[in-house]
């Protein structure tokens, strides 16, 4: 079986769950005998295939900025012009390239991801008559509290056009139904984690140690946008510091809320206990997971939340938002309501103060991470392929 996959980002030049998912999924699919032609924008950075069965086809010459989500403040600048234009350009050229390849490559189906690949999937699907599987890693409803109609319309189109939909959680399934998707068309396939990658226990980061000075360390890791809840993290940090002044809070990731967050840390009087790490490379990511005593994911709306699984596979106790996909499926985590700052702080303090809790969460988290493999994600995805092919045969 050969699949034409319409992607967007691909590690190492990725900033979201979509990129990680595509990398891990494609290599597992290839291991299971599926050939994948992966269409993506030309990055100029030379993305390499990791498997002989995986062919990377870079289309569109337009210089495209990394994966940026809508934020209220910048919707009409960066996002509105550059990115939208780039997406449009990419989709057009991607559809052309896919149709061109289709004759020779004999694809069984088209598999697209998120709103970024909707137009290309629609166009190529119409021309090639291939069945379409569309995965949604997030929807506009998750990314912002004020959804942009334009994007909602594209997502709606994607939802209507696909033969089968993959949602990364039951939570995302519900969002797709808000977009008008027929429930019978949606399959939930959870993301996974490469447990080997993060369980090395490598905490040898000298620079971090110097700053840490023996303090208990709590980690936030994600884009600094409203959706990820970094503001709630700081407010909870303030409460924790009131009880345990000897605690360090790491804020890893970049995003347009950074200046606001720095100001908030100053205003709350906790700047000496908060360290902003900015962009973190994959290597450093492993180090900070294992260096942290606790990982907190306070997202207001998290379709899945792969980072929680990564932290769990590193053996780090996690506190995750109840409004997250990963929270539906793991057992070894504490859940919080993102708006309940006292509750969040109390749980953070409990993990830091009581070793029995941290140990138990760590063990249960590792167990969860072992069960949530990308192999399982790939197997479930293949089942969806088989289903759509069974249906698609006329």
């Amino acid at each position: 079986m050969r699949v034409a996959m319409i992607g967007w980002e691909f590690p190492p030049f990725a900033s979201g769950g979509l990129g990680v998912h595509c990398l891990e999924l494609t290599s597992r699919l290839c291991n299971m005998g599926i050939e994948v032609d992966f269409f993506m924008p030309k990055s100029g950075e030379g993305v390499k295939s990791s498997h002989p069965k995986l062919r990377i086809i870079e289309v569109a010459k337009a210089e495209i900025s990394p994966y940026i989500f809508v934020s209220k403040s910048r919707r009409h600048s960066t996002y509105g012009e550059n990115l939208m234009h780039a997406v449009e350009q990419y989709n057009k050229e991607c559809a052309q390239a896919l149709v061109q390849q289709a004759g020779e490559r004999e694809y069984a189906l088209i598999h697209a991801h998120d709103w970024l690949g909707v137009k290309a999937a629609c166009e190529a699907g119409a021309k090639t008559k291939l069945p379409i599987v569309h995965t949604f890693h997030s929807t506009e409803f998750d990314r912002t509290s004020v959804p942009w109609d334009f994007l909602v319309d594209i997502e709606r189109q994607g939802v209507q056009n696909a033969n089968l939909l993959i949602a990364v959680s039951r939570r995302t399934k519900a969002q797709l139904m808000r977009l008008g998707a027929d429930e019978g068309k949606i399959r939930v396939v959870y993301n996974g984690v490469d447990a080997q990658k993060f369980n090395k226990g490598n905490s040898g980061n000298a620079a971090l140690e110097r700053f840490r000075q023996g303090r208990k360390t709590v980690l936030f890791f994600g884009r600094l946008t409203e959706q990820k809840g970094p503001m709630q993290f700081l407010h909870a940090a303030k409460k924790v510091l009131h009880v345990m002044p000897d605690t360090l809070f790491l804020v890893a990731g970049k995003g347009d809320m950074l200046p606001l967050l720095i100001n908030t840390a100053i205003e709350l009087g906790i700047k000496d206990s908060v360290m902003f790490l900015g962009y973190v490379s994959e290597e450093d990511q492993k180090k900070i997971y294992s260096a942290a005593d606790l990982y907190v994911m306070p997202s207001t709306s998290e379709p899945f939340g792969i980072t929680a699984l990564e932290a769990m596979s590193a053996g780090t106790p996690v506190i995750i938002s109840r409004t997250s996909g990963v929270g539906e499926t793991v057992k070894g985590a504490l859940l919080v309501d993102f708006w309940d700052i006292n509750g969040m702080a109390q749980k953070m303090l409990s993990v830091l103060k009581y070793p029995a809790l941290g140990n138990s969460l760590s063990n249960a988290g590792k167990e969860d991470a072992r069960k949530m493999s990308w192999e399982k994600t790939a197997q479930n995805t293949i089942e969806v392929y088989n289903e759509v092919l069974g249906r698609g045969k006329i």
């Binding site: 409460k239 057992k331 006292n342 509750g343 109390q346 409990s350 029995a356 138990s360 249960a364």
Partner: protein, 384 residues
């Protein structure tokens, strides 16, 4: 006995009782279950006792339950007293606080709780002579303690690794105890009603009273101890499953078999002899697949909390502070530890079913912070 969603950021102005226990929720739960289960079942039992002069039944009510009845539903306690008045209803003895105090190294607290319970039951019109420890936890040592307290019988679970090839349908003596007889719960026949009654997957579904009476009649042995949650009637199995009809018909159907008669535990231990001896050096119970104490003390979080409960005994008793003593005892309820259980797969489902928390970790956060608060309270009062 539900705990408050305790907040470490809340002020300390309220009493510990108000800070730790959710009495409003406890009242709601008691009223709800009373309406669905306790009251209709008690009414039915009374009706059956009046109709069948040979019928007998026994109950195991915790002290905390009776205390909650007094506070929130005195009419419910009256209905138990009315049953006791028939003279054919017996109450078992147990720890007042449904605690694991039998496992404390010092047995003083256990003895106090059993005596407290005994006096409450006497007020209700009973005089227990058979002891049933929390969750049927049992060992040679616990049997010995019960014997020292004057009980003639003790009830526990009839499990294979204790009995071997032997049947639970007899009385047994207990190693290194003299005079106390062990009654063993027939878990299969108990679970047929308590657990499987409304299970459509069960090959014996639907269970009828005549079928069940035939099963009882065909058994070999001196007795069969059928013991289950009272919530079986109307709560675990709702009224529309026919559970009340089953109960209503059971005495009539049993009456059709000449080899069956109702006895109370005290009648049984007086009339039947022990046919052999059981030896239980390690504590058993009726919980989970393991039938040991692992449902309450199986993991690090549980053992830590249990350790703190034990550690607080001496300082709290020294303070002679009724409020702290009662809060500490309420916190000994085995459920608080049960919710922290992290066993996986099938058993976890049972734990989840009964738990008001998201997860065992969430339960630990709440319980542990309450224990820490109590610890702080003890220290503060020691200084005062």
């Amino acid at each position: 006995m539900r705990l408050k969603r305790f907040s470490i950021f809340e002020s300390h102005e309220k009493s510990v009782r108000e800070r730790y226990f959710d009495n409003e929720l406890n009242r709601q739960i008691l009223e709800k279950v009373a309406k669905k289960c306790y009251l209709p079942t008690n009414a039915l039992m009374l009706e059956l006792l009046q109709k069948h002069p040979n019928m007998r039944v026994s109950y195991s009510l915790t002290g905390v339950f009776m205390e909650q009845c007094k506070m929130f539903a005195p009419y419910l306690l009256d209905s138990f007293a009315a049953l006791a008045k028939t003279g054919r209803v017996e109450f078992l003895s147990e720890t007042y606080y449904h605690s694991l105090s039998a496992l404390f190294p010092s047995k003083d607290e256990f003895v106090e709780q059993v005596k407290l319970h005994q006096s409450e039951v006497e007020k209700l019109g009973g005089k227990p002579s058979v002891f049933r420890n929390t969750e049927a936890m049992f060992s040679n040592e616990i049997a010995y303690l019960a014997q020292r307290l004057g009980y003639d019988g003790i009830l526990t679970e009839g499990i294979e690794h204790v009995l071997g090839w032997r049947s639970p349908n007899y009385l047994y003596s207990v190693k290194s105890c003299e005079g106390i007889k062990a009654m063993l719960r027939n878990y299969k026949l108990s679970d047929d009603i308590g657990y499987r009654f409304s299970a459509k997957w069960w090959s014996e579904y639907p269970l009828t009273a005549d079928k069940y009476a035939k099963w009882l009649s065909s058994l070999e042995g001196d007795c069969v101890n059928v013991f289950m949650d009272y919530e079986t009637f109307g709560e675990h199995h709702w009224e529309d499953t026919g559970i009340f009809e089953f109960l209503r018909c059971l005495p009539t159907e049993m009456g059709k078999h000449s080899n069956l008669e109702f006895v109370t535990p005290s009648m049984l231990v007086k009339s039947a002899g022990a046919v052999g001896e059981i030896d239980v050096p390690h504590v058993i119970s009726w919980a989970d697949m393991e039938r040991d104490t692992s449902a309450w003390l199986g993991n690090e979080m549980q053992r830590e909390c249990f350790g703190i409960l034990q550690e607080l005994e001496a300082p709290i008793k020294e303070l002679k502070d009724e409020e702290l003593l009662s809060a500490w005892r309420m916190l000994q309820n085995s459920d608080h530890l049960y919710y922290l259980c992290t066993k996986s797969l099938s058993d976890q489902d049972v734990h989840n079913y009964f738990s008001p928390y998201d997860s065992p970790f969430d339960a630990y956060v709440n319980f542990r912070n309450i224990l820490e608060d109590l610890r702080g309270e003890v220290k503060a009062r020691q200084k005062a």
